[in-house]
């Protein structure tokens, strides 16, 4: 009985195995929707992109679901954010993927953070007394459009290596992406220019590259330390600092609880802005360009509503 069951199972397995996947396009898996969006810009119809973490999900705390094993099993190229952002979930998935192509160090494993501008690289001693620090620097680097350009370049280079026949196609699309990004950057910078140096408070340290690109000034965080939930004393300190410096904006990622930010806003007359740090964070931020369009628009609305300079 057991043997017969085994034979049937093997026969079923062989059936599925035999089905050939005759798809010419490269199967690209991206750890986040941001990377997926940029990869799609470069790869066009020559690649099929599957994102893993959703934009409205905290990318530090994604569950290593077995369904991701299947996604990775079929990948020709895996693009990760890097800088230890996915350390809590991606490594076991890669090991279980049974896919030699995407193991770290292989051609099919791309970490574009290696060529991006990384901020907050810790100097001196790093201990966990500082909270959940990233010893390799702030991993939210895609929030500077200049880094978007660098990511695009890294993806173009790798796609051309994996699929040399379409190298010209990728190069042409990357050039086009770069051109559109430059235009958009001028627009975003112009919109944000009147508010250069505007002081804000953010929930997590997700915005280092964003404020670097658009000239905002983060004076504090709702979290006392990265990954440590707000404490009453720290909340009081933030309220006092905001009152002293007349800060009217609290930027919160969509995956954080609004209770503490709202109570801070109540006591300071500030406004809580739920700002997506990733493509897909809100429905409007459906690609890399629309992410910045959305964030800039949300910020401008909030600035107008609070009447800040």
């Amino acid at each position: 009985m057991t043997r017969r069951l085994l034979v049937v199972m093997l026969a079923i397995a062989a059936q599925f195995e035999a089905a050939p996947s005759a798809r010419a396009e490269l199967n690209v898996v991206a750890a986040t929707q941001d990377l997926a969006s940029i990869a799609q810009e470069i790869g066009g119809d020559k690649i099929k992109v599957t994102p893993m973490a959703k934009g409205y999900q905290d990318p530090h705390f994604v569950e290593a679901k077995p369904s991701f094993v299947l996604t990775l099993n079929r990948a020709d190229l895996l693009i990760v954010v890097g800088r230890d952002l996915e350390i809590g979930w991606l490594p076991p998935l890669i090991t279980q993927s049974r896919n030699a192509k995407i193991q770290p160090g292989s051609k099919g494993y791309l970490d574009p953070s290696q060529t991006a501008k990384i901020l907050e690289l810790p100097t001196g001693t790093v201990t966990r007394a500082m909270g959940d620090v990233h010893p390799l620097g702030n991993p939210h680097y895609w929030l500077d459009p200049e880094n978007g350009r660098r990511i695009a370049q890294a993806i173009k280079d790798r796609l051309s290596e994996l699929d040399a026949a379409n190298a010209a196609y990728y190069a042409q699309r990357e050039a086009d992406f770069g051109r559109r990004l430059t235009e958009a950057q001028q627009r975003w910078k112009a919109q944000m220019a009147p508010y250069k140096g505007l002081k804000v408070v953010t929930y997590h340290r997700s915005w280092a590259n964003f404020v670097d690109a658009f000239g905002l000034d983060v004076i504090g965080y709702v979290e006392p330390k990265p990954g440590i939930p707000p404490t009453p004393q720290h909340t009081l300190d933030v309220i006092n600092a905001m009152k002293a410096q007349n800060v009217k904006l609290i930027l919160v990622e969509p995956y954080f609880d609004l209770k503490t930010p709202n109570s801070i806003a109540e006591k300071t007359g500030a406004r809580v802005v739920v700002l997506p740090p990733s493509v897909g964070g809100v429905p409007a931020a459906s690609d890399y360009f629309k992410l910045f369009d959305t964030d800039v628009a949300l910020l401008l609305d909030a600035i107008k509503a609070t009447g800040t300079k």
Partner: protein
């Protein structure tokens, strides 16, 4: 060599002196005696000079063997820490610029390849009364040291050493080959058997302070089934769900099995299916079977069959604040040497709900027959509360009532402090 040199020099000098002196004597009448004397004096000076040179050479020659031991002049240069060039790939636009300092001697270069090291302390305390299982009031139950790294392009290795009051034990130590052809994933070494769910977790990763009753009664005890062996698993591609088949062969001498001959191995098979129901909810089902020889006699064997089911709910937008995990595992154990040939049955049902960013509440009901005397059934019920100060530490309390088959009872409060330092690899889902 030096000796011959000195002799040669002396001989040349003497011969030279004679060759010059001889004609002088022959010409006696021609040259004055004073000339002759002057010449002799000159020759003597030359001879002395030569002898001095020979002596000096000889002295230098005697010192020469000692020279290599003398500190080379380079060592006098100011000591500078050796540096390693940043690997080409790491030369990010704002990555660590240039070269990284490396301390100690040049062998410190090997530190770059050191594995990720972590230590997890598991401190367990017990209060209240239990007539049967007497846990110590306070105990560092275990210090688990993990060492994990990529071996080479084809393999990675994981070591988990558990130091407990019973001694130091290799909890697991295995190599994984993730890039085998045919979509296979193989592990070789000492490892936890892939039987069900709870058996595969390390103590610090369980949602309870203790281990459920059926694992203690039917799977070899607190530590569960853990042995040296080979594990191979394969994905079974299909359009509907994640399906994974695992086959394992173990040495067959562990807490559950007792193979007397080299051929008395233990065999395990597992089939696991998983499916996302929605983006927040998923269902995980598995069935496991293990077979091996036991200590009841030369041909006495044990078979254990298990079914496990897990349902998870975790809304993605609030993933760090809210989740629910419900799990049940059922075990059937058949020992050849069981009294009156019965089958022992055991199971647990457990639920864990996260109600705030750092707070979890849980409950568990578990019971199990005993493997040999299958008519005896132990039962227990628990309520749990867990607090996470951060990702790296955890405090847990478990109220547990136990009713043992032979009349004993337990009414206890177990509490646990878990604390982790270093880089501990992420856990398998």
């Amino acid at each position: 060599m030096l000796h011959s040199f000195r002799e040669t020099c002396t001989a040349i000098a003497v011969l030279g002196a004679l060759s010059l002196a001889a004609p002088a004597f022959a010409q006696g009448t021609q040259g004055s005696q004073e000339d002759l004397r002057a010449q002799i004096a000159l020759l003597r000076q030359q001879l002395d000079a030569l002898q001095q040179k020979v002596a000096a050479l000889e002295a230098a020659g005697a010192q020469r063997p000692a020279e290599p031991a003398a500190p080379p002049t380079a060592a006098a240069a100011p000591a500078q820490p050796p540096v390693v060039e940043t690997p080409a790939g790491a030369a990010g636009a704002a990555g660590p610029a240039g070269s990284l300092p490396v301390y100690g001697n040049t062998s410190a270069l090997s530190k770059i390849f050191n594995p990720d090291i972590a230590v997890i302390g598991n401190f367990v305390g017990a209060a209240g009364k239990n007539d049967v299982e007497t846990l110590p009031a306070l105990q560092l139950h275990e210090a688990e040291v993990s060492l994990q790294a990529i071996v080479d392009p084809y393999a990675r290795a994981d070591f988990f050493l558990a130091a407990s009051p019973e001694g130091l034990e290799i909890e697991e130590g295995f190599v994984t080959f993730p890039t085998l052809p045919g979509g296979l994933l193989a592990k070789v070494g000492k490892m936890k058997a892939q039987f069900g769910k709870a058996n595969t977790f390390h103590a610090h990763n369980l949602p309870w302070v203790d281990t459920p009753m059926p694992i203690r009664n039917l799977l070899g005890g607190d530590e569960g089934l853990n042995d040296a062996g080979i594990s191979v698993s394969k994905l079974i591609p299909n359009p509907a769900l994640f399906l994974e088949a695992t086959g394992e062969i173990f040495n067959g001498t562990n807490d559950l099995f007792f193979g007397q001959d080299r051929g008395d191995l233990a065999y395990l098979g597992r089939l696991r299916g998983y499916r996302d129901l929605t983006e927040s909810t998923n269902l995980d089902l598995g069935t496991s079977f293990v077979f091996g020889h036991n200590d009841g006699g030369p041909d006495s064997t044990t078979r254990v069959f298990g079914i496990d089911a897990t349902v998870r709910y975790r809304p993605l937008r609030r993933a760090i604040y809210k989740r629910f995990l419900g799990r049940t595992e059922l075990f059937w154990s058949k020992r050849d040497d069981a009294l009156d040939g019965g089958t022992a049955f055991g199971a647990y049902v457990s639920g864990e709900y996260q109600f705030a960013r750092r707070w979890f509440a849980g409950a568990r009901y578990d019971f199990s027959d005993r493997a040999i005397d299958t008519a005896l059934r132990d039962k227990s019920g628990s309520l749990l509360l867990t607090f996470w100060p951060s990702e790296f530490s955890q405090v847990r309390g478990q109220y547990r009532r136990t009713s043992y088959a032979d009349g004993g009872t337990g009414n206890e409060l177990l509490f646990q402090f878990l604390f982790s330092v270093g880089a501990h690899g992420a856990h398998v889902f």
